[in-house]
Symmetry: D3
């Protein structure tokens, strides 16, 4: 029998998830999303231009950028851009994931020649910043497309959650303390129809045998995604 979770949750229970829509008044769409202590500001900015590789296609583009405030973590991280410092590799990796995830939610052709940039800025990190960024990013995206009269370009809701194998037990939505002790850390991006957009599973420390294990972990994640999509719908009205 495995030990209790640090915050007393059941294995398949999400942390308290909160959305504060309209968090940034200037943006076409915005939300502050919290997965427990993890808090991410997501804004969606709509511009009447497309990147070079989409020029002349008639369709649009959705992209994401990710950053953390320097003190989102227990020790201070250097600020990108200061004295020429580029984004760190982890931020680059995450923003590419968020961008792929959110493009799956949109009909780029129906978007018209517009670019939507989803900015995800982590105020405080306690595990799961990338899944919170995807989940909140979708809310900001949906609000922005409505605001500019392009809601028809939304194809499906997209949300993300982690599942970890801790002490042999699959747990939903790891906080940092659990993440640090997980044998396997799986991040799943799914849709409100129970489909998958992206799955990233990483062995921490020791490689793992899957033998049917991945599908079970993914199924648990998709239950979490379904709950997140219900919460997204409640916010989006």
């Amino acid at each position: 029998m495995s030990a209790a979770r640090p915050d007393g949750r059941a294995t398949g229970q999400l942390r308290a998830v909160r959305f504060e829509p309209g968090f940034i008044g200037h943006a076409e769409g915005s939300v502050l999303v919290a997965f427990g202590r993890t808090r991410v500001v997501c804004t969606a900015s709509v511009e009447d231009r497309v990147p070079p590789h989409r020029k002349g296609s008639g369709g649009g583009w959705v992209t994401a950028e990710y950053g953390m405030l320097p003190r989102a973590t227990s020790t201070r991280n250097e600020r990108a851009g200061v004295r020429g410092r580029p984004q760190d590799g982890r931020a680059v990796e995450i923003q590419r994931l968020v961008g792929r995830a959110l493009r799956a939610g949109v009909d780029l052709g129906a978007l018209g020649e517009r670019q939507v940039t989803i900015d995800c800025d982590v105020l405080e990190a306690d595990g799961g910043t990338r899944t919170a960024a995807v989940t909140g990013g979708y809310v900001a995206l949906a609000l922005a497309l409505r605001a500019v009269g392009a809601a028809a370009a939304l194809r499906r809701a997209v949300a993300a959650v982690s599942v970890g194998l801790v002490d042999g037990e699959a747990r939903l939505d790891l906080c940092y303390e659990e993440d640090a002790h997980a044998a396997v850390d799986l991040n799943v991006v799914g849709t409100d129809a129970g489909e998958l957009v992206e799955v990233q599973g990483t062995a921490e420390g020791q490689p793992f045998r899957s033998v049917g294990g991945l599908d079970r972990m993914v199924a648990l994640a998709l239950e979490g995604v379904a709950q997140l999509c219900t919460l997204q719908r409640a916010v989006l009205g």
Copy 2:
């Protein structure tokens, strides 16, 4: 007779100022400060190291960095660090001002060989981000020094506010709409003893005659600083 202020304030009245201390759990000191719709996250990070020019001095250092979330403004700004992009010049100018202002609040010798970095990140901008950053930055700094047992290094409270000449009338704490129409924009950093740390006044459009005008504007600003210091004390307990 001049027109009413856009938000109905009296000429010498601050916007609604709010402090949310402890806004970022990981930081030694933190606060969310709001001057009306302008909101800035301030964190203070204490590290047991000093920059090269302070090595061997026995004393410490206080420095500041400033950034804006890409969508803090009405149109999106490019994110620093992405594809090698450096901080923009305005951010550099402001963070230097904030650093000078906050060093005036601290006895660097009594600080010991420690560096405190004040990060000021603007969530939303509606004029006065630099004055909010100084005012909130001091709160974060004071909280952090207490947290590490170095409160004795605090010498005096520091706060900042703007005064603008709009339609010939000196107004305290301009919002963006007023700032855009001001003939003169003055930013004043002062102390809880009514002293000045820094004064920056800029003519917008037309040069101005001072003839005793500067001292009057500064006096109005110092009244605002006094009120801000009272609010800081309430937060710091």
Copy 3:
């Protein structure tokens, strides 16, 4: 019934895989690895230093960097470093994957205070450059650890391969043409003991239903990994 593969392979068949060990005489370990037309130069460089986060741990570190020659692809890519241009995001994402994969093959404690840097430079790209980089990177790593008398720090062989869902059919080791038409693209890093190190699956275009599908795709990938590990052993003698 699905169409034949462009190069006539069976669905579970790897491309022709070739290793040319000792490809770069100066490196402690090196190999040119080819997965069909995809060719990657992998070198392992051993240095008697560790990164800051490993200082004083007694153990070592393994890291990876990834690049493509400007003309590894059908149109020319800009060269990193020229006129200050940083690495592109895709390279950053891949080199982080390669580093995590290869660290799983090594006992960092047994390595001692040494850093091994695996450089993966793509001469020509035809799909699967990241899986070739992991697979060849392990060969370079193993050769280098032998060369410096640290073969005891090798814990297990690591290799990687892709599986794609094309026309509803799971296919092993996609070339670029298949990759461009795959509904799902799964990259799997595994060990010679049939365990998993990392799994990354991405829907291309449409989200997908998994219902047990992931585990089957992973199983096919692990068969490919087993074959690659056999080929690695043959090269390593």
Copy 4:
């Protein structure tokens, strides 16, 4: 009673100010300006283009850049641009001040769709490089506008000087040795009509009480500005 100034000047006396117009033959306008030992090369370059934010306005733009030769100071500073090093923050702060100051001298609408870039490069620094840059920058600007037949866009002469509080005494145009001991350092940009463009006052070490003091310091500065404008007129003929 305060001590004599290091170079024996009266409190309200400028250093020897010299202008060498036409110092750089290639530029539309240029001058070498010296405030005592501080020497700055100022050039004005006129180009038939405007920055993006002025496109289609029909008007032009004036901007400034500031740099110091690596050995303008007593110890060598690193050269910007070498090995990707960005401009240092002090240079950024100063060039923004110079740009604002010189735009006050020009009718941007009358300039037409032209950009004038004022480059200020410090050969040797002995305090007051920013005030020398503004003062010399105006001369270069005026020469350049004449050279391209746009003298009508000049609205007013602009010059700058510092005033410092040293041993309780207001002194005009501080050299480095005085600057290092001043209690307050005030930089004033003014016009030939005795108006103010920008005022920046900073407490060095201890905050200061103003009580009418700022206006007196500004008045002293404006006397210096008036003398500088007389010297500018003599040079501009």
Copy 5:
């Protein structure tokens, strides 16, 4: 009498020179060139655009970029572009030489509004990487111009070789070991008509007296260039 060369060559003998044309399938022109153990991948990429300074000229442009794989040398070099690192100065110096050399081989007017970029990437370095890059670069260029139907823009073949003064003796095509002991190192770019394009001679350690010596060294180099041009012709058919 001087000692034998480390690899037993006669003083006027080239190392084994090999060309592997078509080394990179994606490029319009490519070759792997080896001068002994020095191996360089050269690709030529043709694009229908020209740099700003050639816009509207009707003619084209040829440029070169040079890089080394991190482990091309006996110790690992940092990779350009990683964490914002720019190209090192040596690479910049060499790519400018290669670009000048290859432009001498082409009638830029006859090229039309096209840019050819020659990428020279050193797999392994054993002296003479810049001369190998020029010599292989010409082969890649010629293959590319043929491939796009622009062979008529080729004016003359260009090749390069080094001559060194070792123990008072002029030796052709130095390897690294000889280069490190040479008193003078001369790099000569010449044409198949025995003409010179560029000559760079550097004293290593001690300055040298020329007294007719340069012309003799150049003559030896031109013999090497002639042999290289014969080999180029054989490859180009």
Copy 6:
């Protein structure tokens, strides 16, 4: 018969060469050097540290950096370091040449563990900036070594000059107008003993036949170098 030179000089005649030693008071050694209208500020800075590759050698290092003021040329060049812009390639190429040239003048072992950095900043360019930089750089270097009591580390004087083939005639010390029409441009670094340090000759437009021509051009250059060394001696007293 060839046309007269634009400034009426004889073919073997230098432009008016002037040295203004002590041009920058802060530097250990400095000079303003003019070759006609080409003017370069050279400073030598001595620091008690050596670069990593010289650590523990007991000896020192001499290095050079080169820059041009933005308006040193007929059209404005972008300033290095602004918005992350790196040095341009031409500056990198030249500063490497200057560094090699000046190291030939010094006994690095006798220098002790010191680094001398020669900064060469071009105020105005009219051809020959690199040769003026070498020639003036030596003067700055010699003055600095005397100033720190290390004159014994000077081994020989070093100077540089160009020779060009214009209308079939070898001309010494080309100005920009001649340089633009030269068939061959040769830059020669030599010593006061008539020895060579570096020779760089480039065909402009058409390749050239040397047949003894290089040695004659070098001989003419060495006559110029001898004159320059005489002038250096006069300045150095």
